[in-house]
Symmetry: C2
Amino acid sequence: MSVTIKDVAQRAGVSISTVSRVINNSKPVSNEIRQRVLQIIEETGYTPNPVARSLVMKKSQLIGVIVPDISNFFIGEILNGIEEIGKMYTYDILLCNTYGDLEQELRYLKLLKGKQVEGIVLMTWDLQDKLIDYLTDCEVPVVLINRNTSRLDVPSVSIDNFQASYDMTTYLIQNGHKEIALIRNSLDSNTFCMDQYNGYKKALEENGIEINENLVQFGNFKLDKAYEIVKEWIHSDKLPTAIFATSDTMAIGAINCLLDHGFQVPNDVSVTGFHDTKMASFYRPTLTTIRQPLYDMGAVAIRMIIKIINKMEVNEKVVILPHELVERKSSGPAYL
Amino acid sequence: MSVTIKDVAQRAGVSISTVSRVINNSKPVSNEIRQRVLQIIEETGYTPNPVARSLVMKKSQLIGVIVPDISNFFIGEILNGIEEIGKMYTYDILLCNTYGDLEQELRYLKLLKGKQVEGIVLMTWDLQDKLIDYLTDCEVPVVLINRNTSRLDVPSVSIDNFQASYDMTTYLIQNGHKEIALIRNSLDSNTFCMDQYNGYKKALEENGIEINENLVQFGNFKLDKAYEIVKEWIHSDKLPTAIFATSDTMAIGAINCLLDHGFQVPNDVSVTGFHDTKMASFYRPTLTTIRQPLYDMGAVAIRMIIKIINKMEVNEKVVILPHELVERKSSGPAYL
DNA sequence: TTGAAAGCGCTAACAT
DNA sequence: ATGTTAGCGCTTTCAA
């Protein structure tokens, strides 16, 4: 049996409320008594039971984090930010992995509420309508990372995906590319994927390049899928001079396929990614990509949730963090 | 205010004990009443408050997981296993990131105990004595992943690092290599790093190859460190024909350095890794490495903790999972 | 089969 | 400044 507030009170010859006061510094306690209590606490190694505390205060000091894949490079770095800043404010992280499955997401959302978490940070590949419906009347505050939707007044943190995509496409155009493929993700209009597509489109339009829908494919964040897409282009002899994949993993899939088929990157084809995960600099050729402040995204999200929990003022509910085009070795001038 | 057991009891016209009985199936309840209660629960959307339950049952259904780096490829995959199997047994994961810092590890160990977790899964780069001391009289059950020590009777799950290292070294020898470098990690004799070194040594000895201590360096799991080590060999003209790095990340660091200096892999130098993270097959050349069943290691560890928590019999406290040498494109015959 | 009541460890009125 | 007491929402004896 571990030692309780009662034991401490008894041994110190005071009431439990006094002990409570000294551990919480909630009300004045005479110095003499405070010292005695502190001493006993020290001696016994007493630590307050947070479960009991949660029960009465209705505060669990727990924040739920729902992610689609812990082992994803991109997500891992965000989690670092969430975890570190959370701990800094004495919140703990309850981690849930959904594999991107909507049913799981819904299940965990309920489960976390049941667990009395005070807030939830939600990441999902695909912000589906059913999820939005649920979020709409969810009493627990939720912050989305890298998703937002006009359908919903939920706080979120992300980068300007439209602009980033526009920047990357423009960069490729400036390098002389005219056939620029896009390997994008979900069709889901609630997410940034659409923004990315629109940024791509705008850059092409501004430069008088017509969109070739055959060069716009859905990769679903998967390396293998991107590989297959490129293979298909190669086999049908429709290989573009540049491929812009909206994740580093897909970009690597694309490059691997090109390499395996005897093409050179960037000499034959330029390939660019998105995210700037560690992979982007580990891999050879190093990847030209869009740097997202991953750690910061996690940090900002959790900070926002904590502010909301504590009813502090939140200046902007939709936070846009800066991005940056990082030019490395996987892209270059178009072969003319 | 959310609905409590009291509300349900009232609306069903029964006592709270009866409600408790139906939700827990703990004692017989007449069918009629059971139905009525179930109905009310359905109507009200009542879910039991796990915090209150924890308080009386002294079971939090929480398992603490302490890791040195969430965003590490290796760890992410293990976490997937921990999370999924944990959830399967209705346990939740409280995640703590230490950046490998001993003080943090100690801090979190205490914090988790305070949070009433029922068990802890601990991963650390370096199993230091101070940590072992602490674990020795820690009332909460702990399972180590990929570490164990004779100093301590703590359950653990890992692979046979000695054998794996022996296998890899032998493989390289069989490919005609005689100058085989080892990029290893900590000196810490409590961890597998020593086993790896010993496996390497034994393979060399068995084949009558003398150890060249200059070719045994400490990389500390870091890509950059491995890069520097190889650079040093190149500059001092002591490049071996094979490099065995005890992590994929370090192997990639080594290859990157070789590539950057105009060497070919595996034509000039063979490089092999350890872990078989996703990186190993993403990267080009694909890495010859030791496959560890990462997901399974997490799964087994959490299963073990749950068994211990529930006082079930645990057959073996030190679980050794099978490994496998995966031959890919980063290694080949020695240049003769 | 059901209900009343005690108590898990704590906080926060309220009373002194 | 300190103590008494009533809960927080639940499980679990004990009695009926």
